[in-house]
């Protein structure tokens, strides 16, 4: 009888091994590197005020990117999140007079969740490519935002909502603290809950997940539901910041959120990615935008800079992680 070949794990040691296997660690280092470069180039970047400003800026895109991460983990994509921020924000603004603060927030959240569920159900049960379904939903959402608002912004927002963005806890903005709490909850869910592991399994190998008895239909839909819900939550925070909501709100957030997820190391084919990676992806995006502003780079050039960074980050991640997987 022949000896069975038991392949040894590739030799990796200590810090290097940690670096090669832990995407979160790589992202932390990358974020710190970006901060370092910007801190050296711009003195204003180093100020506390600017840091607080960056925290504030990361909330809206961060919340949307969280939902986007779940969708991308199952191998889908949600292009509708930006326009859902618009339409759910308008619903929030329109409902204040009749439903009060809490009623309006509830209506806003329900709208987002229902819209997400519709996208998820059509891709899952109707087997239509998520790109197509959410592209359609993106157009519908923006159109409804205009229709419902009469194409004007709504400024009659109860000042109490502004507390979300103005209060601080030990000097840290409340909204940023909440963002971190939501991310920690999501991290726990994705790594420790049955549903979270199911999302990974669906994205990595749908057929195998099915054979193993996982609830793939339910979770495929729920990923979009959560994405829609997070767009609504994001709309609430956006509204609280300026106490006004515009039907154009959230334009471009779909691309920013996808960029954050992808910079954060997730695979667009699904199954691979990390919620903490996404959070760092959000920070990198926000810092770079912020830094370019401070350095006086024309806004017209910023798109080129951000786009190049997305491509470079993904290329780098691909090289590093394929080494690690060998």
């Amino acid at each position: 009888m022949t000896e069975e070949i038991v392949p040894a794990a590739p030799p990796r040691h200590g810090v290097l091994k940690l670096f090669a296997t832990q995407i979160e660690l790589r992202m932390l280092l990358l974020t710190l590197a970006v901060m370092l470069v910007l801190a050296i180039s711009s003195p204003y970047f180093r100020t506390l005020n600017n840091l607080l400003n960056a925290m504030d800026q990361s909330v809206v895109v961060g919340l949307v990117a969280l939902g986007q991460t779940l969708v991308i983990l199952i191998g889908g994509i949600d292009l509708a999140v930006g326009s859902l921020v618009g339409v759910t924000g308008i619903v929030l603004g329109l409902c204040f007079p009749s439903l009060g603060l809490y009623g309006a927030v509830a209506a806003c959240l329900v709208t987002g969740a229902v819209a997400g569920t519709i996208s998820g159900a059509i891709t899952t049960f109707g087997r239509v490519a998520p790109f197509v379904v959410t592209l359609g939903m993106m157009s519908i959402g923006r159109s409804l935002a205009y229709v419902l608002s009469g194409a004007t912004s709504i400024s009659a927002i109860p000042p109490a909502l502004g507390d979300l963005s103005s209060l601080t806890i030990f000097g840290v903005p409340l909204n940023f603290t909440l963002l971190i709490i939501v991310y920690l909850l999501a991290w726990w869910f994705l790594s420790r809950a049955k549903g979270g592991r199911t999302l990974y399994a669906i994205g990595s190998n749908n057929a195998a997940a099915r054979v193993a008895g996982l609830s793939i239909s339910i979770w495929s839909v729920l990923a979009y539901t959560i994405s829609g819900l997070m767009a609504a939550v994001s709309a609430i925070f956006l509204t609280s910041r300026v106490l006004s909501i515009d039907p154009l709100a959230g334009t471009g957030l779909e691309l920013d959120s996808i960029a954050a997820v992808v910079i954060g190391g997730a695979s667009l084919f699904g199954g691979r990615g990390s919620i903490i990676g996404t959070l760092f992806g959000v920070f990198i995006m926000v810092f770079i935008r912020n830094g370019l502003n401070l350095l006086g780079v024309s806004p017209y050039w910023q798109g080129t800079a951000i786009g190049s960074i997305i491509i470079a980050a993904v290329l780098l991640e691909r090289i590093v992680s394929s080494r690690a997987r060998r």
């Binding site: 069975e4 049955k194 199911t198 990595s204 054979v211």
Partner: protein
Amino acid sequence: MALLELSGVSKRFGSTQALSDASFSLAAGEVHGLCGANGAGKSTLSRVISGHVQPDQSRFVLDGQERHFTSSRDALRAGICMVTQETTLAPDLSVLENIMLPRLGMPGALNWRRLREEAAQLVAGLGGDIQLTLDETVGTLSIGQRQMVEILKALALDSRIIIFDEPTASLSPFESEILFGIMRDLTARGHGLIFVSHRLEEIFGVCDRITVLREGRLVASGATTASMTGGELVRLMIGRELADVFARGDDPPAEPLRTGKPVLRVRNLASSPLVRDVSFELHAGEILGLAGLIGAGRSETLETIFGLRKATGGKVELEGDAFSPRRPVDAIRAGVALVPEDRRHQSIVPDLSVRENLLLAHLGDHRGFGRGYAARKTEAERLLDLLGLPPDRLWDPDLLNFSGGMQQKIILARWLLLKPRVLMLDEPTRGVDIGTRSSIYALLRRIAAEGVAVLVVSSDFEEVIGISDRIVVMSDGVSVAEFPSRLVSIESLAMFAAPRSSAKRTHAVLEELVAAHGGVACWVGIEQDRLFCFDRAGSETRADPGIAAGQIHDVSTLAMALALTARAPGFVTDTDAKQTLAIAIMGRRGHELGLVSLTLPAGNPLPDAETLTRQVQDRLAAKGSLALGKAA
């Protein structure tokens, strides 16, 4: 001079050394068999020759010139072509377009009229038996016909070297006969053929020389077939006696172990279009083999039982209760487990760690919000120990880095963790090296001995006979035969498993015989003292020979024993006064493909035996038109 000469071929896939220092040579006008057990590297070597796989090291000499192919297109240009099982045909294009497909990739305009003439010539060149309409859409052809199209495609490219990779895996014995006939013609015209197979009878039937691989290494190089016996070839292929591999102990049990009621009872199960009428019973403590050719609907049957496919008819009972899972989780919670056929696509979740892969079915079974991994820790470690895997391998991030055998063990452990009552395995040793194969067999025996009902699907007849207590044969979605495995041989199993599309022709002949002369007509095979009844027509009780389709009988107990064994040219009077004519059907290579028997009641007028014999033989002898009838 050798047409093709390879030496020092090495190839590594990840952690598996698929080939090490193999060599191969092919002369014009010969059929060279490339043999080995599953995972021996024969497919890799043939794919190196066809340019599909780039070796890490090799010396490749074609026509005395050293060559280096970087793609299959290079090899095609050099006149090397491969005919595979997973056909590379475009199903929506016509036969003509498929045959000429490689031309579409060449520069210059196409002259369809010229191409049509060329194709017609090629078809004619294969001999008059081939009936192919050039305008037929390939998707509507039978598997046998598609293979002919593949061969024509190879010839259209003027290929001098054609590799046949397991060409008979889904062909009936009749269709195989035609294929072998064509192969002979091709060698006569100076082509060099490489025949990849692990079926002994075929290797000896068609090959001039044999090269044997075992675990990527050469164990016999270009030995002439005539100088070798079957037993020697088996020893070369697997490195020991066959009986050792299947870990059966000294003797298979005389009667399969059956304790009480069946655990699983399947009645007329259907799931359109591939599962049409499947019935069997599965008992605790036994291993039941589901045998058949590729495409017979065996995997689909398992999937239907497991809730992956919707049943469109029939019923399944699990321990006496109606069982109709709507989703796999229903089956899992009822104690049914399935190890699917395609490990890479249906079992392994590449982005989860080995540990999570092991716990995946547990996760599906688990109720609750968390993962519940901790509760399974002890059992998981016990299983790893049972499978001979070191526990620290659990923390490896990537199951794909494991060898095929190790992967399969982890997937087995995934299901054993749930302590199933019914364990279904689809091709459990595909891509598994021979060493691990026998440990998987031993494990299955052990699981069955512990009272689990085990159902194994395998296309490897040797495996299914070796591992099972009982065998149910499926053909075209129908369970056609059932018998204890100790009674059956690989050859007769192949006859039982023949697709209905080819069996239809023989059935029609039997029906015609009965219509013209009355009595009962049977299609049987005889091996030593055993009779295999493949098909039967007629129900006249006065002529009942006492055998039924899909069954195995002891020849000596039959009234018509004399007619079957004496091989007399005319009718023979049976011991109970009935009269039986046995007509032998010969294959092209002069070996017997079975007998047609016609039994008439005592005292009936007898038709002229000689005329009848000739008629039946003409209808059934392996004529091209027989097997190349359109798919059902």
